[in-house]
Symmetry: C2
Subunit: 240 residues, 2 copies
């Protein structure tokens, strides 16, 4: 399983993904699930993926091919698309196309499926955050719902529901997605370290910072323990 | 959807269920999902249900019929069964039988399904807590995993993972299941108040207390707000 989360805030966007992939029960590996496409200062797009690795890898590879193709246009390349909505559209169509092809090959077995989060901004446009469904259709984060999740999303949703608003600072937002991931890691073993964390500041049109958090990360462990302690203390203080 | 949770602790068992049932999207009602079977001081069994109302109502009704039947034996009546394991077995078989019948009627549509939590103790036996799957097979709570959940279980699992151990007091355990339910209510609208809370003290072999918590419950609201505040305060105190 996978857990990826993206926040759309007044000050920027914060994205976090895990890296565990299992192809069958005995084949557990680490794969990056976060992909950056950048023309710094002009355009930034980050895609996070969940689901069948064969579908997501092929989709990302074809999106790259379409960018590099000599005949690339705003209709085919996410780096030339005139709007972020068009970017989501291109990604959605590519995902649906790849899933269709692979599903056909696998039709005797249970189908392959995948979903994606697409975050980005082009110069002069607004920051936008999309969740793309396996069928290729998509929804967008809004003022009311400033976060989107894919994969094993339920364990980590309560903390986001309580903490994340558009006015949340980028620093608090990083804390929130890491605690959301921490709850997911504790409750579901099939989501695993290392983690990829990314911040895209508003109007920077580039990836402002990325961080890979390895299994032994001292800072993450300390934060996780502080949170456990805060929860236990809070729990103790509540009267029934 | 539904959320039910049961804790098996050194001092007793704590059970909590919501009451929202929707038969189709426009037919949302309140139905009790917690059922008690008692011979006080001799035997207590509490069953909580999730899934298709047609399956769970029929299963509970047939279990009652089997108890009241003049030809009732330890093979057919959960009130005569020689062990709690046998109780789980009878409930599992009845659930599988009813589900099979209803599935047959519904075969043109998507099948009906249901799962149950069975908690109980008979005089001289140990307290036992079972989760019964739609297929009729079941698992049991243990020292290592002292809680079981059915229905919309993921939102409320992180708090239980952190707080509940066999040595947890019955008072803390009630707080824990209510906070687990609170997180679920906030994150999924299809789980709804009122709630049914039940405590079975060890070796009492009766339902020690039950409480129905209505939507406007002042104490529940205060606890929910205190928990939100504790989480926000804890969140603020953590350094990234």
């Amino acid at each position: 399983m996978t857990y990826c989360v993206g926040l759309l805030l007044n000050d920027g966007m914060v994205l976090l993904s895990d890296t565990r992939t299992n192809a069958g029960l005995d084949n557990i590996s680490t794969y990056r699930k976060m992909f950056h496409f950048e023309d710094p200062g002009e355009r930034v797009i980050t895609i996070m993926t969940a689901g069948s690795l064969s579908v997501t890898q092929t989709t990302i590879a074809r999106l790259r091919e379409a960018i590099e193709a000599p005949e690339a246009t705003g209709e085919t390349s996410i780096m030339l698309a005139p709007t972020m909505l068009k970017v989501a559209d291109i990604v959605g169509n590519m995902l649906a196309e790849v899933r269709g092809e692979i599903d056909e090959k696998l039709s005797a077995m249970q189908g392959a499926s995948a979903s994606m989060i697409v975050a980005g901004q082009r110069k002069g446009g607004a920051m936008r955050l999309f969740l793309i469904y396996p069928e290729g259709n998509f929804i967008e984060a809004t003022e009311d719902t400033p976060f989107l999740q894919i994969g094993e999303h339920k364990y980590g949703k309560p903390i986001l529901d309580r903490v994340v608003k558009p006015s949340t600072s980028l620093s608090d937002a990083q804390k929130a997605v890491l605690l959301s991931m921490d709850s997911t890691l504790r409750s579901n073993l099939s989501v695993g370290m290392p983690l990829d964390l990314c911040v895209i500041e508003k109007d920077a049109c580039k990836v402002s910072s990325t961080r890979r958090i390895e299994a032994g990360d001292e800072q993450f462990r300390a934060m996780s323990e502080a949170w456990s302690k805060a929860l236990r203390d809070g729990f103790r203080q509540i009267n029934l």
